[in-house]
Amino acid sequence: MDILFQTWPWYVSGFLIGIVMLTLIYFGKNFGMSTNLQSLCSMTGLGKRIAYFDFDWKANRWNFVVVLGAMIGGFVAVHFMSDPSNVSINPETIAQLSQLGIDAPNGQLMPNALFGDQIWQSSKSILILLGGGILIGFGTRYAGGCTSGHAISGLSNLQLPSLKAVIGFFIGGLIMAHFLLPLFFRS
């Protein structure tokens, strides 16, 4: 039973993510999480003013149910399947992060420096999370998909456009992780 509580190995996790995608294809749907962002905006009636949101979001209700299931899964995994041995990242990474003033995981998924309760009192912290979200939302809808739609589904279907998007994801990610993040966090 220990295996349930420890960090799941990459080969088990990767295989199961592939199965999730294939199951949705078998259900006649496409695996894509960022479509939900568009549907959520459309739900508010924004389609009357912006054509991009003028579509029948109710046809994507199944995807909201997938999201709801995923949220419950996240809750169960964090509250009932956690272990202090989790998130054992590379010690070099931990050393590097401490220079940026970012705390070590100690079994936690998210650093307090970015996601602790104190961030509600810091306009800089809120702006970082909001800005990151804007880049994600704008980028994923511009590129027409995110990690699930392009990196997993698109590459699995051997689509060249998805490879271009994934190359873009990595260029952006490397610039942020190596050059910009240290500017935001070096105290």
């Binding site: 960090t7 990459w10 990767g14 295989f15 993510i17 995608m21 078998y26 259900f27 006649g28 496409n30 999480m33 962002l37 568009q38 905006c41 054509a51 999201v67 995923a70 949220m71 899964g73 996240g74 169960v76 509250h79 990242i89 990474t93 992060l97 998924l109 998210m110 650093p111 970015l114 996601f115 509600w120 909001l130 990151g132 979200g133 880049l135 994600i136 939302g137 704008f138 980028g139 994923t140 809808r141 511009y142 590129a143 990690t147 997993i152 589904s153 590459l155 699995s156 279907n157 051997l158 689509q159 456009p161 271009k164 873009g168 260029i171 952006g172 490397l174 992780a177 190596h178 910009l180």
Partner: protein, 137 residues
């Protein structure tokens, strides 16, 4: 719509992404520093499983659950949108460590500051929707 089957697929997805720690900010940072194989292994095995599965579906003309032929949407053959949109996405992904799936999963798991990321992602979606006709694709 049979709600339960989508709920179960989502539940599995949420558990796997959390237990593999693909939802963890630390794992994303570590991946972009090339200091662990973990995330590359996950993505690599997921894509390999997907390629094999899709080939099996295509070669055997497997029908979906309703007996209809399975058609996987082709992505438009553009360039600018994938590189510019992709880079924007990557900048955000490495900053807050979560892509759209994990944003929802983490909120469900009780990491409420991630709600700010979700609000940002919705604002970003509206910005794209509003500017769509003026952007190169």
């Amino acid at each position: 719509m049979n709600v339960l089957k989508y709920l179960l697929v989502g539940f599995l997805f949420g558990i796997v992404l959390t237990k593999s720690e693909a939802v963890s900010w630390y794992r994303i940072y570590e991946m972009f520093q090339f200091q662990s194989f973990h995330m590359y292994g996950i993505i690599g095995v997921a894509v390999t499983t997907g390629i094999i599965g899709i080939q099996i579906i295509k070669r055997n003309n497997i029908k979906d659950i309703k007996g209809l032929p399975i058609e996987i949407q082709e992505k438009p053959k553009d360039n600018a949108r994938y590189y510019i949109g992709g880079i924007s996405f990557g900048l955000g992904w490495a900053l807050v460590g979560s892509c759209p799936g994990p944003i929802f999963i983490l909120i469900g798991a009780g990491f409420f500051p991630v709600i700010i990321v979700l609000i940002g992602a919705l604002i970003g979606t509206v910005i794209y929707g509003a500017l769509k006709s003026k952007l190169p694709h």
